[in-house]
Amino acid sequence: MNAASTNPDASNLDTFPKLLIEHARKRGDQPSIREKQFGIWQAWTWAEVSEEIKALACGLAAMGLKRGDKIAIVGDNRPRLYWTMTAAQAIGAVPVPVYQDSVAEEMSYVIEHAEVRFAMVEDQEQVDKLTEIRESCPRLERIIYDDKRGLRDYTYDFLSSFEDVQEQGRTYAAAHSDFYETEIAKSGGSDTAIMLYTSGTTGRPKGVVLSFDNVLQTAKNSAELEGLTAEEEVLAYLPMAWVGDNIFSFGQSYAAGFCVSCPESADTVMHDLRELGPSYFFAPPRIFENILTSVLIRMEDASSIKRKLFHYFMAVAKRSGIAILNGEQVSLSERLLYALGNILIYGPLKNVLGFSRIRLAYTAGEAIGPDIFDFYRALGINLKQLYGSTEASVFITIQPDGEIRADTVGKPAPGVEIKIEDSGEVMFRGPGVFVEYYKNAEATAETKTADGWVHTGDAGFFNDDGHLKIIDRAKDVGRLQSGELFAPKYIENKLKFFPDIKEVVAFGHEREFCTAFINIDLTAVGNWAERNNIAYASYQELAENPDVSKTITAHVEQVNRDLSEDPNLSGAQIRRFLILHKELDADDGELTRTQKVRRSFIADRYKPLVDGLYDGSKTAKIETEVTFEDGRKGAIRADLKVIDAQTFDATEHLKQAS
């Protein structure tokens, strides 16, 4: 039931404001967006949203926001911020969502580069940040805030409240009766819908310009492929500045007409998820990993009978649950056992996690550990991987139902063509391909060829049944001095599956052998320490604990054993590693805002440690600058132990096997 496809004038509904009017007409009394406030889910119908957005759009116009102007959107997922997107689009302005937790310097770059004139922000915190930024970005004329708390004494004349803007909008609309409709009609599918800044694993963020056709076509195609209807329940909790949120919580909602719910606060997401019971859910692997880790930790604390039941039925689920979900043949006794498990374990567990009603779940962004992936599928959750990028409006490949594998990312999405370059790099072409990088023709030309093919920067290949498999970033795949293949991401992901390990950075390109930095997971290891009466005051102290080193060494050796089984990768076993004295942190620039490791930056910053790993010494000294949560800086000094891990020969493994 696609709203647009069943309408005779579907071809005219080529922008979100046009779709909004259509939804208000067709399903005016159905909920469009919800937010939990004061402990209750408050809903707005499509008709109400349409009125709110009209008032807002007219207000923005009355305050001087013109066609082609940019309006920054900064804050958590809130209905009013989503409305701002459509309102801006209605009058031809371009929304530019910005990561709300980025530090002032990063934010200032985006605001300056995008030539932002207006900003819609969530609360006082963001008002303060933008007021500071405004000094270096004179183009930023007006700041509008949603939540007025704490702002009563602010007398700046460039500040307006959301209500003020809407009030002006209502007056303006009354005086210019057909202004809103005329403005909406002026935009078409090829106009710019949104500008999204990529998180920038390398260099400055780039502003990806997406047209209405890009976003809407992709949203419609994917909604059709997965059979999304107006009945879906979706929780919008991922950063609005991320393309995924724009498709899953905005684009597809408009394409299929379903209701999107915003959590009460960032801390309550898990709880809200459970209350809402979404039918369609997206999360990066990290979140699935965190959920699994917390389940396993809580099971450790459960009584022994519960723990035994859990482990017994999880083994049943792993054996036959995935096969049942894939529609393969499973014996009757196994099916009965699985059904019993569903009553005793899987059902209640899914309920606690908020996955009871889930029909479709996606993960993407990074490779997911096969065991994590299998855990959810075994529970009967249709978790699929997809492969995408901002430049593609998300979808490049999707795993079709019944063809789910942990180690591939699926087949090309509807309308998308894929080819593999000689260098191994994956390239794609399709309806979602971005228009350009804003004010950066050089980067556009580097990424997008004249006939529309886009470089992904990822290395991969198609396997025999037509599924794409991504190994690593094309530029990251390296070789050891001996010429053997070194795929750092592959090794890191293998290690990160262990709940004790949070982050890994592997080194080895043009080196004699492979080494790694490891971050322990404070939740998992801390829980272990608590149960074993081990006192620790900080992350650093826990990381230095000899028992922790021993456990981590065992994990590394397990990975080495696995690697030795694969003839292509057996050379890249980890010979030496160390446990870092601090957690890698986006505030220190070590991770991107989407929590990806910035390898070269880390190699640079911790050069003495890397040297220590390769010069045979037993310890390595380091002094690093850290940024505390209140913005102050300090230094951490540490003497880290370098640990040697056992490696395995491919032959030795064979011997063992025989």
């Binding site: 406030q37 209750i40 007021t131 500071e132 704490g150 004494d153 606060s265 209140d630 102050r632």
Partner: protein, 282 residues
């Protein structure tokens, strides 16, 4: 502690903003204590203390250990009864306050050692703050129907607004005994706020907190003062915090009043400096 996060309603760009006192006009007296003396047997806890608290201000009471700060708060809300002196609250003078009178007339407080119901949820703890405002008797409440239900909903609405205000939605249903110390302090503030107080007494709201928790707490105290217009009297040891957020400061030492004035005046007062840093006797 960064000035930008703590300085009263001064956004970063406005560093030359006038001091709170100059911008805000506190003329109306809310509470006045005159010549208060309190002793326990032979121990004189307070001697001839007089000062006032004006409407809408943040008033700090500071002093070294054992100076009589907590005793002073206990006198104000009626836990202790001074032997000498009068307390004038909202124009009504009395020689001693009684705790239930204090509560009924709009004085709420938090304690140095958290005094919450550990086994009850955050929501229920804050709900207890509404108890004095409930009109229906327990039979009605047990029925949970009609007027009692309506009343419960009204109170719940108020409590939810406080939960939203203090940003503790995520722990709404968590038993407070399981919460970290900083959050428990916040819940206690929530319970005091649930009484719709005119005068809020905070006994060391930031004791034992880390820098981040202190900053949050400061923000909440300032916001309470701003949004609800609540008058606040607080005892605090962290000088940085006191000087940043209060409008006027009373300094006590050995039960005597040492100084009374704006943070700047108090900071410059030689007696205060001596009391805090010690004096050399040579």
């Amino acid at each position: 502690m960064t000035a930008a996060t703590l300085e009263r309603s001064a956004p970063p760009a406005q560093s030359e903003a006038p001091t709170p006192n100059a911008r805000r006009n506190f003329s109306e007296e809310l509470l006045k204590v005159e010549d208060i003396s309190l002793s326990f047997g032979g121990v004189k806890a307070l001697t001839n203390i007089s000062f006032d608290i004006r409407k809408h201000e943040i008033r700090a009471i500071i002093g070294p250990n054992g100076a009589g700060k907590s005793s002073m708060l206990n006198v104000i809300n009626g836990f202790y009864h001074p032997q000498v002196g009068t307390i004038t609250y909202k124009g009504q003078a009395r020689s001693q306050m009684r705790p239930h009178e204090a509560a009924k007339t709009g004085i709420a407080r938090t304690f140095q050692n958290i005094a919450l119901f550990k086994g009850m949820s955050t929501l229920d703890n804050i709900m207890t703050g509404r108890l004095l405002k409930m009109r229906r008797n327990f039979l009605w409440q047990a029925l949970y129907w009609g007027p009692a239900l309506k009343e419960e909903l009204e109170h719940r609405e108020k409590v939810e607004a406080i939960i939203d205000f203090l940003e503790i939605q995520a722990i709404r249903k968590t038993p407070v005994g399981r919460l970290p110390y900083g959050l428990q302090k916040r819940v206690e503030l929530g319970r005091a706020l649930a009484m719709d107080p005119e005068l809020l007494l905070l006994d060391e709201p930031m004791a034992g907190m880390n820098v981040e928790e202190k900053e949050d707490m400061c923000r909440f105290i300032l916001d309470v003062n701003d949004e609800f217009g609540t008058t606040i009297a607080l005892i605090e040891h962290d000088m940085g915090v006191v000087m940043d957020i209060s409008d006027r400061v009373v300094v006590l030492d050995y039960g005597r009043l040492l100084a009374d004035g704006t943070p700047d005046e108090v900071r410059a007062n030689q007696q205060v400096i001596d009391a805090y840093l010690g004096v050399s006797h040579d």
